[in-house]
């Protein structure tokens, strides 16, 4: 079976900056034959469905994980199956035609897997940034002046997303950045995703309705700073290795 890192590399080939594409190609890190017989499965949540209450309701978590994430996994497997057939048949137009679906469903799978792991029950040690994320906190303070300043800017970026998308804190080389992505576009440009917040309406609507600013305000109670710190200290590949191990990919 192909691991998540391979999928990330594959997606990077399509959407990443020229330079990275070159690196991946010349480094021969990606081999088309690796895609054969790939079947992704839905990872279980690392906590109970109601563990993020009252900030994210059990109903939202259940639908979001069991239905939405599952649909991305199914969509990805179907698209990859089509890709394998197209590669075997040497049908290049068909391979290219499948790219948007692979990007959308593959991105959806990666984004949600990263998301579940970067959330934790409110009040747990993992949500105590000062205690478990010393390195990241001081890096954030270095860039945004204070945690409060960072939260404000991150929140503004989330609320400003036009349509469906995600907000991410990423490590780009030696610096931290806030980036927003549309729909299910994954972070595959070489940055290390530290944590992401799902801003699709399905992520909050049943509980917060149109008041997305309130969801953004409350999400801070359930950010898993321990996971964030680990991702911050590691390299890009470590993030997906850890994810695979933790979620039993």
């Amino acid at each position: 079976m192909v691991n998540l890192g391979t999928l990330v590399q594959y997606l990077a080939l399509q959407g990443g900056p020229q330079q990275q594409q070159q690196q991946i190609l010349s480094g021969d890190q990606f081999n088309m034959s690796l895609i054969t017989e790939t079947t992704y499965t839905l990872p279980s949540l690392p906590y109970a469905y109601d563990a993020l209450e009252p900030h994210i309701s059990s109903q939202i978590m259940t639908l979001h994980h069991d239905k939405h994430h599952q649909a991305y996994v199914d969509g990805l497997n179907a698209a990859l199956k089509g890709l394998v057939a197209a590669v075997k048949a040497n049908d290049l137009p068909a391979q290219i035609a499948l790219q948007p679906r692979i990007r959308f469903h593959g991105g959806g799978h990666i984004n949600h897997a990263l998301f579940w792991a970067n959330l934790a029950p409110a009040g747990s040690e993992e949500t105590n940034a000062d205690k478990v994320a010393g390195g990241l906190v001081s890096a954030i303070e270095g860039v945004w002046g204070s945690m409060e300043g960072f939260r404000k800017e991150f929140g503004a970026a989330l609320v400003g997303i036009q349509g469906s998308g995600w907000g991410w804190l990423v490590k780009d080389g030696q610096t931290l950045k806030i980036v927003t992505t549309k729909d299910q576009d994954p972070i595959v440009g070489g940055e290390v995703p530290i944590f992401g917040v799902d801003m699709w309406e399905h992520a909050y609507y049943l509980q917060y309705l149109n008041v997305k600013a309130k969801y953004v305000e409350n999400i801070w109670n359930v950010i898993n700073w321990k996971t964030a710190e680990e991702r911050f200290l590691g390299e890009r590949d470590d993030v997906f290795e850890a994810l695979r191990a933790a979620l039993k990919f």
């Binding site: 639908l63 239905k67 649909a71 800017e153 950045k177 309406e201 399905h202 609507y205 149109n210």
Partner: protein, 233 residues
């Protein structure tokens, strides 16, 4: 990088202020920009009138909150542009373009949407008649094929967006287009029938089962409105 700019800009501003380089903004009356303000249109039916196909709660939030947000956002964008233009700051004016497109599109799309819906007990549902019926049969083969194609287009939207039945001004034929987020239908296409595929349009009632919403909405399509848009197009 934005974060760096934000961190340093107060310092720069302070320095400029100290050197007297920044004069207080000229007192341009904000009332100058009030003319032509967009307003939220009333619905021609009650919030609960599209039940059971679209719940009253969805309709109320969708109209009163979501549409209102686009109206407010559009007016803010227009004011910002007018203000920037009056100061000759065209870079600033141009930077508002994405907000104008998003909120302006949102206002336009929803205004068209409310009018191409109607209660099933009144004009809603059924099939088109007259010249529209003929055109649909010619360009799609049948009404049923058209409906299926529209539902496929809706289901295929990756993220938030809309699907539209349009008339192509050049060829005169009907077609289907999808638009991301609130991008409006413009240019060679005239929008005849729009269906909102944002999650807020159905989630409270249909949750993740969007295909059920796309099926149900045909019971409340106002073909009279769609037909007259076609005839005027």
């Amino acid at each position: 990088m934005a974060s760096t700019l934000l961190r340093t800009s107060p310092v720069i501003r302070g320095a400029l202020r100290a050197s007297g380089a920044i004069k207080p903004a000229v007192g341009i009356a904000s009332t100058t920009f009030v003319r032509g303000k967009a307003t939220l249109p009333d619905l021609k039916y009650d919030y609960g009138a599209l039940e059971p196909h679209i719940s009253g709660k969805i309709m109320e939030l969708h109209h009163k909150k979501h549409h209102q947000t686009y109206v407010t956002g559009l007016n803010t964008a227009l004011e910002t542009i007018a203000e920037a233009e009056s100061k000759g700051d065209f870079t600033k004016a141009a930077s508002v373009a994405p907000l104008l497109n998003f909120h302006g599109g949102g206002h336009l799309n929803h205004s068209l949407f409310w009018e191409n819906l109607a209660p099933a007990s009144r004009e809603g549902g059924g099939e088109p008649s007259g010249v529209l019926k003929t055109a649909i049969n010619e360009d799609f083969g049948s009404f049923d094929t058209f409906r299926k194609q529209m539902n496929t287009a809706l289901a295929g939207i990756q993220g938030s967006g809309w699907a539209w039945l349009v008339k192509d001004k050049q060829s005169g034929t009907l077609g289907l287009v999808t638009r991301a987020n609130q991008d409006p239908v413009t240019g060679q296409y005239v929008p005849l029938l729009g269906i909102d595929a944002w999650e807020h349009a159905y989630y409270l009632q249909y949750e993740n089962r969007k295909a059920e919403y796309f099926e149900a909405i045909w019971n409340v399509i106002n073909w009279k409105t769609v037909g007259s848009r076609f005839e005027k197009a």
